[in-house]
Symmetry: C4
């Protein structure tokens, strides 16, 4: 039994050692099911497909939840194989509250909860939660971990530039509100409403549903657009440089020699 | 009395030494009040909130102005503790005309002025001025000072590329005006009006309220959009590279020691 | 005969050696015909030109296909001059299935097929295929090969960031669908329809045909636009840095000589 | 007389030596007149200003043309002071056909030509030409020369990436035309008309006057927008890197020592 648990752990969690082939097959199956789930959730909202394939969508949902539930319970059972969740009871409790176990739980929880929910509003929100099943794939995605590192690495700079962006957004939107409110009281109704214009102008999206019409407003709008390019380019520049640092690191060996004693130093 | 003034100075202006705890608490309170002020000014323009919480907004405004006034007067009183404002009279006069004291003054001035103003247009503009209270936070914001350094450092290059951007904007808008005016006399009414299109196209905002319809105008519009990407990317590129230079410098020590022989190595 | 084949091969495929002048002239003619073809295909869709120059377009099409057909057959005949297509039969078969020969074939195939096709829908699609004649120019275009290298070189990073972009697009569009569907059921009809908004917002195109109107939707739209700038900037950053690496390499010699002692210095 | 010509040359063309003060004053006057001309040409198209200040605009135009004409003739007279225009006749002929003299000529030519022109269409176009007076300022603008160097330096790479951008624009627009023409025959009328959408989508301007509505068209539109970010970012990236190279060069001294003989080398 314990031997079986050990093997199961290897299949579920690690992709090395003896059971590598089975582990790889299992994980590929899991990724396929998650991807199909995402496609199903997306297509499910198209009225035509929902009508035609209603049965298929329901059966696939049922199958996915069963699969994910069994997998979730097995993961709790085998987690004690890991050093940090060693204790038969407290180890499992700690595992249940780990980030990846919570993501796994959120993938199945909406289904079970919706069985008991009678309020339609809650059922709607629960359906939305199903899309977060996609986050399960982050367990496998190199991209996800890389982006995480990229963002965490430049956390301070990003918060810094974001603070400034929000600061300028409030200033620009406030001034624009006082300039344009009299001319377009139904569009620039309040500063928060004007901030929708502000984001749209400064990110250069420009939907066109709201834009200044007075000469002063247009001048300010022009300045905001030019400023926006600079402002929103800052977080972009930070992300790009951080990204480049991360993807380049493995290519460049960082060992060099001390010019005094000639021994190798790892940077 | 003089000892009290010294302690007060430490609390208001510096965050080090004996009174560090009180100073930190005071400054956090100040930042909170400024932030709440910004939120109040923004939400105050939403008709619904303004109606419902009118009393709350008014009371908070009164409290903020009292707080800022007392703080402003105290700052003038204690400023002589600083070396450069040493003189009991001229030192205080010089402090009153320093950048940060002017910002502090602008944060309270509109309220007092509006008490005597009878003209509604002026009261409206004074309300707008309250948003500049947000600039008081710049005293604490690392982001604000960093952005300032970033911009000042590449001042020449920014002015240079801005000159060229404005130059091209005038040329492109003038040509577009002559091309499109006949086809859309109500939209491309004049060169200044066409410059609104020019900014919108060159910053790639594209609101869609004004765009060329003649084949020649569309060709020119396409060239302007492509050119705009290049032109407006110049100041962005300058800002990003300057920003990177500033945020990288403090993090990387340029001399380190060899772990084997202990001597310094210059990277 | 064999000597003639060798000379013909030199004219068609290589631009060096004895027949360089003729080869250059031939290749310039070919590029001109391809470019004129592209212009003809583009202008052919303008109703006015199509009516007026119908005969000219048809004759030029006929001439182009004849020219390309003769050239295609000659290329198959002479390809055996190349080392890797040496065998008189299997070499030619292998050549026919090489990338450049397939592109050459696709440039003439639609015309011949359309002679026998009676279904109008197929004829329409075949007309579209003619635009791929433009790809023939890639045989000569340095730009095309450079872009290919740039993309292939950073294949992994591009796939990585594209995965993340698609991932975030699905998440953002799903949440937006649940937020905005109730308010605008005719615009945010389904998640795939909302993804059209998602791409438009995240790439900052912002056509304005679909945009959120609820406060929560606008907040999410603003976050999506800011996030989009960061997300879509990643592949851009990767491409730009890869592009820079490729175009810089040949220009800078990495070893140079000291002008005083003549010894080599490694930069 | 010859001495007077020499002094005049120094005032007009160079800003060093004995007559530096007068030269500076003259050139500042010239820049001011050019700038005022640009403002006049721009504001002249605003119907309100044109009506009110018609006389002022006309008088200023007259004064400008007189000033520029006298200056133009004086420049031709004194140009022989320069080494390369030494010959009293052929030197002056060569000067008249130099780039800067042509720009000077274009600044005054439209006025004189319009005196004899009776056709209104030509007078309109001549008015447009007046805006090129602004190019006269390029003689003084450091920005203008820098941008010129930046562009010339990366000429090949820019042409290269522009070729690819146009290539992709034709391909994408052609495919889009065949996809959307049936659904929106009044908007996607022809491939050239679709190219207006293509530029708008790929530069992320997105005016919203033309956009795909079929699912296939939207998918293609999304791909075009993502691709566009990458494609149009290439020339931007090239320009930014070239710009950075140019503005950094003077700041960094490039001298280093040869590690073999210890002498200085200028990079």
């Amino acid at each position: 039994m314990l031997h079986f648990r050990k093997n199961l752990y290897r299949i579920l969690e690690t992709s090395s050692g003896k059971r590598r082939g089975i582990s790889l097959a299992f994980n590929l199956t899991l990724i396929t099911i998650i991807t199909l789930n995402a496609i199903a959730i997306v297509l499910h909202t198209v009225p035509e497909y929902n009508r035609r394939f209603a049965r298929l969508f329901y059966n696939f949902e049922l199958f996915s939840v069963c699969f994910f539930t069994v997998e979730y319970l097995l993961r709790i059972w085998v987690c004690v194989e890991q050093e940090k969740y060693r204790h038969w009871f407290w180890g499992r409790v700690r595992y249940v509250f780990s980030a990846s176990a919570i993501i796994d739980f959120l993938a199945i929880f909406p289904f079970y909860f919706s069985l008991f929910a009678t309020d339609l509003a809650i059922v709607r929100i629960l359906r939305l939660f199903r899309i977060f099943r996609l986050f399960r794939i982050s367990r496998y995605s190199h991209a996800f971990r890389l982006i995480q590192n990229v963002v965490v690495d430049k956390k301070e700079e990003l918060i810094l530039s974001m603070t400034f962006v929000i600061f300028m957004l409030i200033i620009v939107s406030s001034v624009m509100y006082y300039v344009e409110h009299a001319a377009q009281p139904d569009k620039f109704t309040s500063i928060p409403a004007t901030m929708w214009w502000g984001v749209s102008a400064m990110t250069t999206v420009g939907y066109g549903d709201i834009h200044p019409i007075t000469p002063l407003g247009k001048l300010l709008g022009g300045i905001a657009a030019i400023m926006g390019i600079g402002l929103f380019a800052l977080p972009t520049g930070i992300l790009v440089s951080s990204f480049n640092e991360h993807i380049r690191t493995p290519h460049r060996p960082m060992t060099r020699r001390c010019p005094h004693c000639g021994k190798e130093i790892v940077s």
